[in-house]
């Protein structure tokens, strides 16, 4: 594992995060929005792992456990919301569910 330089790992994390962010902003379906969120969370988790490995600190590993827990909680809430959304509107398109007139 030490053969990979830290910069590469961080670069991968940044690319993943940007991909997730782009998906969050561009995707219309809520399913993909949730998946983009997962990708962004995992990208941050990857950044922690890379950092802790490079500097030999265990704190980053502990932070990764927290991120996974957070991601699981977020996924359950997000999926529950998605089921509600589908039952109410029979659609997963986020743009369609706005009822504001602004």
């Amino acid at each position: 594992m030490n053969g990979i330089p830290m910069e590469h790992g961080l670069m991968l994390a940044a690319i993943l995060f940007t991909l997730g962010l782009a998906g969050l902003m561009l995707r219309r379906s809520m399913l993909f929005v949730l998946m983009s969120l997962e990708i962004m969370l995992n990208a941050t988790g990857l950044a922690f792992i890379v950092g802790s490995t490079a500097w030999n600190q265990p704190d980053g590993q502990a932070m990764f456990l927290l991120v996974i827990t957070l991601a699981a909680a977020e996924a359950s809430v997000g999926l529950a919301l998605m089921i509600q959304l589908y039952q109410r509107f029979h659609s997963l398109k986020l743009d369609n569910v706005s009822r504001m007139r602004g």
Binding site: L21, L24, M25, L94, D95, S98, R99, M100, G102
Partner: protein, 621 residues
């Protein structure tokens, strides 16, 4: 005696209330009967009061109106020779005019409304002349103004009539404000509004010619000018002719417009304390009488000619007041009420007979077909020009001129004599224009003369009799009520003045005969073009006072109002509101409920924060 006084006041009021509540449910016959009958009974009650009058001044207090500490005006009536004389004119001449109105208004819509207003007017006018304190007098004063408004606008379907009514109401209101201020000043300085007490206390509190006395007299004069249509508050009277002719006869000739003369005569003690203001009264009277007499020369509407002649005759009364001859002013007021009511009713007879035609150019040649109206115009016109010895107007006008001469007011005397010449001119022009020459329209070719002996002939005949020397004999003088007039112990020759006045009248008539009969064509050609036409236009518009007020007062006011409406401070305030609205509109767009927009905005915000952090920390790590 006091009971009959109160009854003559209350009868017209009761009739007004009845007519007002009955409204149009009451038929025209019943309305006419109640309207005319109530004033007739009031006239009878007044006649009874006159017969039983002992000659002493009496008061009757009905009840206290307001009681606040020292301020305790009452509903109280004063009966003295002056108020009885005014009562007799109001109910007597008023009854004849009401009777004539029964003929004049037959077939019009809204008869009930007409009589309700007319009776309310009689009531208000009686309150005005009988009131024993200034506050009650002011109630009557405003009441007659209101009735005048209601009756000028009687034919309310025509817009112009409503404007005329507004004009009369507003212009007289300007005078009324002055009168109210004068009342306030009197109450503050003298502590009472009772006219008797005011006249008693004024000489003790104010020295003759003191500034406060002058101001009080000036303010009251302002009220009198508005009501009596004297320069400069005179512009409403000619337009007030929009009302029915009996209204013009009663309100705008015989009674209401003379209220100013009555007021000054009633408060004579106050004006004697302000000799300068009293002289001003005379000067305003002289100016008004000349301006109005010139304007009357160039009118084509017969009622407007009579309106200007009314202003001119009231000018004579003001001249008499100005030289301190209060008795002469009231004398002329009395005879003027007779002959001007006669002239207006005769004009009304002509107007109805010719199917509402009142332009002089469209009348003419009527003397054989309308003999009663013609006789009315001849007798009334003779009294108006003050034909010597046989007319009522001669005795009263002669008295005024003599008093002016005895008071050494040569300017006022000359104005009066010139006015007499002009009166002869416009009167002859009026009578020739209506009754002689060729008829100007089909209406004048086939007139329908009034035939009713009671409602048409009787009022004209009685008023005609009163306009001759008989009317002058009826006036017995007011005795001790007024301070001695300048002519009382004067050595000035009365005969000389009578010769002068007669000369002026004869000169006026001769000039009129020469101009309007012999040189008719020449006059037409002169007035038709060039300087003559401009002169005619100026006189026709009565010296352009209307335009003066329009451009001097009304328009600047409108400009000011318009400027204030768009003023810059207001603009600044509106700018704040505009900014708030624009910000609101912008921010509302961000709350559109779309997740993706929110996410984008959040990313943008985070990016901006990060960039700014990087820039400010300068990449120090």
């Amino acid at each position: 005696m006091t009971a009959t006084t109160v009854i003559s006041c209350l009868l017209p009021l009761a009739s007004t209330v009845t007519l007002a509540f009955a409204g149009e449910r009451m038929g025209p016959r019943a309305s006419t009967l109640i309207g005319v009958g109530s004033v007739g009974l009031a006239a009878l009650a007044t006649a009874w009061t006159l017969l039983t009058y002992s000659g002493a001044s009496q008061g009757v207090t009905l009840w206290t109106w307001v009681a606040v500490d020292d301020f305790q005006p009452t509903i109280g009536l004063t009966v003295n020779r002056l108020s009885l004389l005014m009562m007799a004119i109001i109910t007597g001449v008023g009854f004849l005019i009401h009777l004539f109105a029964a003929w004049y208004m037959a077939g019009e819509v809204g008869i009930t409304r007409f009589y309700a207003w007319m009776n309310l007017f009689v009531f208000s006018m009686l309150i005005l002349v009988l009131a024993d304190n200034l506050l009650l007098l002011f109630l009557g004063w405003e009441g007659v103004g209101l009735c005048s408004y209601g009756l000028i606008g009687y034919y309310y379907q025509h817009e112009a009539n409503n404007w005329a009514a507004f004009k009369a109401f507003i212009v007289t209101r300007i005078g009324d404000v002055f009168l109210a201020l004068g009342m306030f000043l009197i109450f503050v300085k003298l502590g009472t509004l009772d006219i008797g007490q005011v006249l008693d206390q004024a000489p003790q509190v104010w020295a003759e010619g003191s500034a406060t006395a002058n101001i009080a007299a000036l303010l009251i004069l302002g009220g009198a000018l508005g009501k009596s249509a004297q320069v400069p508050l005179h512009t409403w009277l000619p337009d007030a002719m929009a009302g029915p002719t009996p209204v013009s006869a009663l309100i705008h000739a015989a009674t209401m417009v003379t209220a100013g003369v009555y007021l000054i005569a009633r408060l004579n003690g106050l004006f004697l304390l302000a000799p300068d203001v009293l002289l001003l009264v005379g000067v305003i009277g002289a100016v008004s009488l000349l301006l109005a007499a010139f304007a009357a020369l160039a009118q084509t509407d017969i009622k407007r000619v009579l309106a200007y002649s009314t202003m001119s005759q009231i000018g004579y009364m003001f001249v008499a007041l100005g030289v301190g001859a209060f008795d002469a002013a009231i004398f002329h007021l009395t005879t003027h009420a007779f002959f001007k009511a006669l002239l207006f009713l005769s004009a009304g007879s002509v107007i109805i007979s010719c199917h509402h035609e009142q332009e002089m150019g469209r009348l003419g040649g009527l003397w054989r077909k309308l003999p009663v109206a013609y006789a009315g115009f001849i007798v009334g016109g003779a009294a108006l020009v003050a034909l010597p010895l046989i007319s009522a107007g001669f005795f009263s006008k002669d008295e005024i001129l003599w008093q002016a001469m005895a008071a050494d007011q040569i300017g006022l005397l000359l104005a009066g004599l010139l006015g007499a010449v002009l009166t002869g001119l416009y009167t002859v022009r009026l009578i020739l224009g209506i009754f002689h020459g060729e008829p100007g329209s089909d209406h004048a070719r086939q007139p329908e003369p009034g035939r009713n002996p009671v409602t048409h002939h009787l009022p004209l005949i009685v008023l005609a009799a009163l306009s001759t020397f008989l009317g002058a004999w009826l006036y017995s003088g007011l005795g001790e009520l007024f301070p001695p007039a300048p002519g009382e112990n004067s050595e000035t020759s009365h005969t000389l003045l009578q010769v002068l006045a007669t000369g002026a009248v004869v000169a006026g008539l001769a000039l009129a005969g020469w101009l309007f009969v012999m040189r008719r064509q020449w006059l037409h050609s002169v007035a038709g073009k060039g300087a003559g036409a401009r002169c005619w236009a100026l006189l026709n518009r009565a010296w352009g006072f209307d335009a003066l007020f329009k451009w001097g007062l009304v328009r600047p006011w409108q400009w000011l109002v318009r400027g204030l409406r768009f003023d810059f401070i207001n603009r600044g305030m509106n700018l704040l509101a505009l900014i708030a609205r624009a910000g609101n509109a912008g921010l509302v767009r961000t709350q559109n409920g779309r997740m993706r927009t929110y996410a984008c905005v959040m990313v943008l915000g985070v990016t901006v924060i990060l960039i700014s952090l990087v820039l400010t920390s300068g990449g120090g790590t």
